[in-house]
Amino acid sequence: MATKIEQVREGTNEPLRMVLALVRREVRDTLRDWRIVIPIIILTIFFPILMSIVADLALNWVARYGDPIIGERLIPFLLMIVGFFPISFSLVIALETFVGEKERSSLEPLLATPLTDAQLYLGKTLAAMIPPLLAAYLGITVYLVGLYFFEDWSPSLTLLALIITLTTAEGVVMVSGAVVLSSQTTSVRAANLLASFIIIPMALLVQGEAIIMFYANYNVLWWVVLFLIVVDVILVRMGIHIFNREELLGRDIDELNVASLWRTFCEYLGWERWFFGRDVRRMPPRLRWLGTLCGLYARDIPAILRRSWLAILVVVIGLLSSIYIGYDFAASYPFPSDLLHLDEITIETFTEMPSMDWIPSLTFGWVLNNNVRALLLATMLAVFSFGTLAVALLIAPLAIVFFFVAQVASVGYSPWLFFAAFVLPHGVLELPAAIIATGMAVRLGATFMSPPQGLTVGEGWLRALADAVKIFTALVLPLLALAAAIEVYVTPLVVVWAFGS
């Protein structure tokens, strides 16, 4: 008998079937909850009917004043809204998907089944996504049917495809973000509080989309869709990567153990002393600092750079894209041919800069301070944007540099000489420092999506932070200081020598 049972078990182990079993159960359970079903009915039937009536009234009203464009823009806008409203309650389902089950003690039996972490995550995410998305599609249909009857209006296929894709992408963003929250918190209450991290950006996004809809610039919305798809991929990957059934049951309260966090951070911040194979502890006390210094520069920093190679590569790719962006903008917005007179540059051109209000004085302190502030800001933004804004912040100034390089080339100067004179003297140090610092910032943001093997998200992030602190203070800051000195005292001389009279 046992053999027969084993055969039944092994023979029916299809991963997809298990995911679908989970999805079916969850969807059925959702549809039995009147607190979810009633909003679904209201938002998919009554609300779209109301919107089609409102659209009809608005069209007739504005037609009386001879300004039909307002009505024409209102109809697609409302189409987007009737699609978005039903997916808003996907948050309610998704936020409690794991943590709600944990609170009701029904999660542990589920975790004891042969479902893998990925199957569990996928099943729960799909189950949280399907009812709101179907409701959104139904809402759109009801609205369009109403409009067809009231106004004989139907959307173009492109607009319909855009709205459906946009609605779907928004739904996936909200659900995948909420599922991540739900799997990382210990109570529904905590998950709901943290949901503001989803609600506020989504509200801003919808407001932005509304403005675009009123401008009828639908092509821009396809870029929004592309952006949302990238965020979807990031969030789903992050969810699968950091989802851990052990974490779900291992924690009972959201306790922030500051002492433990500090200990872990200090542990990562430390490094092994080393001095060319000698036992540093046996060196004379006054020479042991050599071991500390050599350990940092010969062992620890190269190791940090090695484990940050992927983040640095991403930054370098971003940097290459800045060349394209700079040249593209230069081609679109060319300077008048008589604007640039590089041959008139003298050393006074640099010293007289402060006389222009909007350009600060080119001093060592200002240059260093400016670069440090920009990189620290990039690091902070990286934490909240999975590293993407740090790369964007580096791309922007470099794109401006290459914009000028292209402009210079278009009026007959050598772009190579321009770059070599204006950028290279200090850029040789400043660019690698900026790339490395941005790479560290990218790691700080990306660790949330993909913590290093064997480390939790928190541990991975603390290690990335400790690495960033060490690299910034021991490598980036000295390089930036040197670069600032060169930029203030050497670069102007090189520029004048290369171009000036």
């Binding site: 039944v8 159960r25 059925r28 359970d29 542990e108 004891a112 042969p114 291992g250």
Partner: protein, 325 residues
């Protein structure tokens, strides 16, 4: 069937399970006892491949829980501390869902589910929403869920809590039946009489460490000492007809406490632990040899014995002795 070797689980700085080593053979029932927070549930969760051990090794039904967690989960039936049912579902839907996750086809799952529900005396649960079940029914439904796929290893956390005596007996009978089917079973419970009735061996865990392990008899013997034997007489120990009994010095006794004479008769053979008006309790390292001799001596002195029996010692005595130590 279940092998734990140096099993350790840490949560940050807290060690929930500390170097636990034990094994449970097929057809054996082990009761895991311990105060709240001792590490029982964490141990069970590691055995069910829900938590990963920090150190050590666990093998369940021949599979390592870290390397083959899914194979382990396929072979383990877990009854969790709380039933954890989906209250909006009907019994049939719920069991169908879990039988599907466990890889059973629908017909086979239905058949087993109906059999188990009938065995636990609640066939009507099949068509009812679980939100309408009583506490005991919910517990039994959770047990049915755990047994549905006929697992070779059963991990039962408080299996009869919230059940009426009849239901509890049904569950105990079912567990004993599983032992005959060569399942390895671990029961975590605070119900000590139940543990004693069901378990072949008892493990007592405190602060994550196993502090006592053995059969109930072994634990009683090693922790409470040799068994206590109670002797009850048909008359009070100081009854007048004892007056004729000789003193230890051979002279008739005329005054003084009579009971000392009975005690004197047996005190060379056993150690008197306590005594009352018509009874006394003693211990002896070798009751098989001592008791017949003692009875013979008492009879020869016309002391009429009503009963001679071992004083029952509960597992609770063992547990409290160990845990309070």
């Amino acid at each position: 069937m279940i092998e734990l070797d140096d099993l350790t689980k840490q949560f940050d700085d807290f060690t929930a399970v500390d170097q636990v080593t034990l094994s449970v053979a097929a057809g054996e029932i082990l009761a895991l006892l311990g105060p709240n927070g001792a590490g029982k549930t964490t141990t069970v969760r590691m055995l069910a491949a829900i938590l990963r051990p920090t150190m050590g090794r666990v093998s369940v039904a021949g599979y390592d829980v870290v390397e083959h967690p899914q194979q382990v989960r396929r072979r383990v039936g877990l009854l969790t501390e709380r039933p954890g049912l989906y209250l909006r579902m009907k019994g049939a839907e719920y069991l169908g869902f879990f039988s599907s996750l466990m890889g059973l086809d629908a017909d086979e799952g239905d058949r087993r589910a109906r059999d188990l529900l009938a065995r636990f005396g609640m066939p009507e649960a099949w068509d009812r929403r679980m939100g309408t079940y009583s506490k005991g029914m919910r517990q039994k439904m959770a047990l049915v869920r755990a047994m549905l796929h006929e697992p070779s290893v059963l991990l039962l956390d408080e299996p009869t809590s919230a059940m009426d005596p009849h239901s509890a007996k049904l569950v105990r009978d079912a567990v004993l039946g599983l032992r005959h089917h060569r399942r390895a079973i671990i029961i975590c419970t605070h119900n000590l009489p139940e543990a004693e009735a069901l378990a072949d061996r008892i493990a007592i865990i405190r602060r994550g460490k196993i502090i006592a392990l053995g059969t109930p008899a072994e634990l009683k013997s090693s922790l409470l000492g040799p068994p206590l034997i109670e002797l009850r007489l048909a008359h009070s120990i100081d009854a007048p007809h004892f007056d004729g009994l000789p003193h230890s010095d051979g002279l008739p006794h005329s005054d003084g406490p009579h009971q000392d004479r009975v005690v004197e008769l047996i005190s060379d053979m056993v150690k008197i632990e306590a005594r009352g008006k018509d009874w006394l309790r003693y211990s002896t390292p070798n009751p098989h040899a001592t008791n017949p001799l003692l009875l013979q001596t008492l009879a020869s002195h016309d002391v009429r014995v009503v009963t001679l029996g071992v004083v029952p010692r509960s597992l609770e005595d063992v547990y409290l002795r160990v845990v309070e130590a």
